[in-house]
Amino acid sequence: MYDWDFYTVLLSYDLFLWGVWKTFQYTLGSILIGSAVGLLACFARLSRHAPLRLLARSYQELFRCTPLLVQILWAYYALPMILGFTISNSTAGLMILSLYVGSFYSEIFRGGILAVDKGQTEAAQAVGMSGLQVMVNIVLPQAIKKMLPAFINQSVIQVKNTSLLYAISVAELTYMTSMVNSATYRPLEAYTLTAVLYFALLFPLTQVADHFERRMRRSD
């Protein structure tokens, strides 16, 4: 019978808390930057200018079709050799996480916008709205509702993807757990606790998201 000893592991509660805090920061930061990047890429894809479309398409495919772990390692170990100066692991980590999630967000945004009926745009144009006014008042509010489930899903994945920063020693939750493990030799307790912490972080998030989605469906 295995002798469970969470006490030893919990003595390092400050390390776990620090890890949770960092994981939260990288998640929030990359979701914010990724949304901005995703929005830009989305409008570039919908643009009339072919070079812009091509640029956005190239970005999307580059980041969607290579593994995130490879991107993280490449940005931290390989990119500095091209640039001629080093990048801190936190900068490389945040940058890649943002660009990665942005490439998925851009497709989610684009799908949401294209799913809004063309008649909506025409009706808004017919009262004299400009392109921007149509987008802000009529298309985006409906597109957001359509894209919300996919956006939340991608963001939940993003919380978990921050754990890959472990590979470049960013002090997020998974990396901190490995440190506790090395100090206590209690992998079962340490990694079980971390799994519980990730769950505790994400479960409320999915519930809040469900709530908002229900509220936004009020007009249906």
């Binding site: 909506q120 009706a123 808004a124 009262v127 004299g128 007009s219």
Partner: protein, 253 residues
Amino acid sequence: MTSAPPLMALIGLRKSFGKLEVLRGIDLSVQPGEVLGVIGPSGSGKSTLIRCMNMLETPSGGTLTFRGQPVSTRFRTRAGQIGVGELRRHVGMVFQHFNLFPHLTVLQNVTRGPIVVNKEDRALAEGYASELLAQVGLADKRDAYPSHLSGGQKQRVAIARALAMRPALLLLDEVTSALDPELVGEVLGVIRGLADKGMTMVLVTHEMGFAADVASRVIFMESGAIADEGSPDAILRNPRSDRLRAFLSRFHG
């Protein structure tokens, strides 16, 4: 018929979709106060014609003028050329499939244009919208969402939405074609009321009886051209051409 300068004029207006020529040089003017009925078989270019009148379709050739000034393809008005944005502020449109904004209440559907486009004060816009909703018989639905309305109610809201911009010309594109038969009457009643008040309208319709009743002039379109034109009496009750007679006979069963 020589009279006041036209509100809108189409001069040699053409529209092609790829190789398909849908409008083959239309000459037409709309006088203030008249109700122009547009009839014709499917594919004759009626909808394309009315959609060119507010530039939802960009003509491939010819000229569109509004109050004597040419309309440009740019959004903004510049140097004697009316922009598309300004044209649409004065030319309202009601669509076959209503196209109400599903995320907005009935009241918001009606006020969004005046508030966003004309920068109208919210309270004033809501006051006028309430009047219009009462006029189309939907004062009690102002806080409902479109999904809770019948087709006839949706179309009456769409008419109020177009009227909220205080248009000089109202375009109606087969506005009863998507309605259940028993709901057609309530929408036609609203349009008749507008005609009685002197609203200038262009009405693409398959309701021949209604066109005969409410239009002051009717054009018959065929293959992208105006094949016949005249008073409702001349066109609908005493058709001169065989093709017009053949077309009309399908509606009398």
